[in-house]
Amino acid sequence: MSRMDPMPPLRADTLTATRPAAAAPKVTTKIKADAVSVFYGEKQALFDVSLDMPEKSVTALIGPSGCGKSTFLRSINRMNDTIPSCRVTGRIEIDGQDVNDKAIDPVLLRAQVGMVFQKANPFPKSIFENVAYGVRLHGLASSRDQMREIVEASLRKAGLWDEVKDRLNASGAGLSGGQQQRLVIARAIAVNPEIILMDEPCSALDPIATAKVEELIDELKANYCIVIVTHSMAQAARVSQQTAFFHMGQLIETGPTEAIFTNPRNSRTQDYITGRFG
């Protein structure tokens, strides 16, 4: 009778398996936030937030209202500059370049970092002009034909071309909410940005329009770094690879989306995503 193999002892370290690493083995950071704090006058809205957002990937910012996620998003393309009492400390880098550097022109920065808001805000112009406007502003088209190509390519990328190609001269405001949101996305990508920031882009859309925008986000992530603020846990889970949870101006937890939604480390994250927040 042979001896059975001895069982390896049950040790603590065999029980605490390490969490699988983020999806891609080699991740290039596109946006790097280092100890970013934002003040509105005396009130501090964001406390020492440090977060790396990789390129060609979607980062979702989640958290209850007033947690600072939109403030954080807006500090990436210096939208907070437009608020007089607002002060930002810490460092935000895009490709290693400090966005708050005096040499940086915020207008050019915002061309590089497109933004999409909760409520679609098409210009009161034709569909064509909505997309062409920024391209013209930044002098990106050298001929009328090239402009037409850029507009078509942008509308195609935004998944809107087939729906509007026969009425490019109609007003952008005449489109449905979901179409307007995709028009705004087309407008943002027409100026060749590297980053797209989205602040609750689907909260005013029906499920089908939402699905189209989410599908678009999924396609866009092949070329862009996308940061999205969303109140929908399901949306964060569906579209993002990285999720960051904010609460009361602090970044509580960040990690691969899958890990955040199956096994968050922090009890506040757990309480928030499972709907237990007091």
Binding site: M4, L15, A17, T269, G275, R276, F277
Partner: protein, 230 residues
Amino acid sequence: MTEHTVRSFSQDLEELSGDLARMGGLAEDMLSDAIQAIASRDLALAETVVARDPQIDHLQVEVEKKILRLLALRQPLARDLRQTISALKIATELERIGDLGKSIAKRVKLIDGIEPANALKGVARMGRLVTAQLKRVLDAYTAQETDAANKVWSRDEEVDEHYQSLFREVVTYMIEDPRTISACAHLLFVAKNLERIGDHCTNIAEEIHFLVTGEQLPVERPKVDALNSN
């Protein structure tokens, strides 16, 4: 854990735990009665065990329905999600334990002729060991205690060793007195069923560990294969 903002969600999850506790209680009673019925050759008791199995099956179907509904309507996340998924799996384990308890009970009337008293004692001893494992793992589930669950997990080795030695012992009786072969063969099946129940207990322990920590226990677990150790 604090309540959900949507209170009926918490109630759904509690109801699920309640169903599992009922299934666990039924499985535990069936198992200990089946073992007693074997040990004392109590046919009437064995029949009550067989009659109780549909209750577990019914509860399992109920649990599955509730989980389906919960997934569709509540989209549980994080620990809620783990709790839901582990409940689904634990319900399956308990249903199987019920089946195995039933098949142990069914053998009471098949064991006829001469049975060696020592073999019966050995089976009863193993039965008590496995019942204790089941009880411990159910307690660990109720308390959501991963340490207690891990103990059950590592103690399965003991069950396997017991099975192995019982197997050898019963084979010896068969060789010594061929008149006992029929009874002993049935007892070997009983022992095998008990060993399987031990495995289901470790599966439940693994689910508890996953539910509480979000981590999987290592794939390797205590295992002794009686047939390959001769």
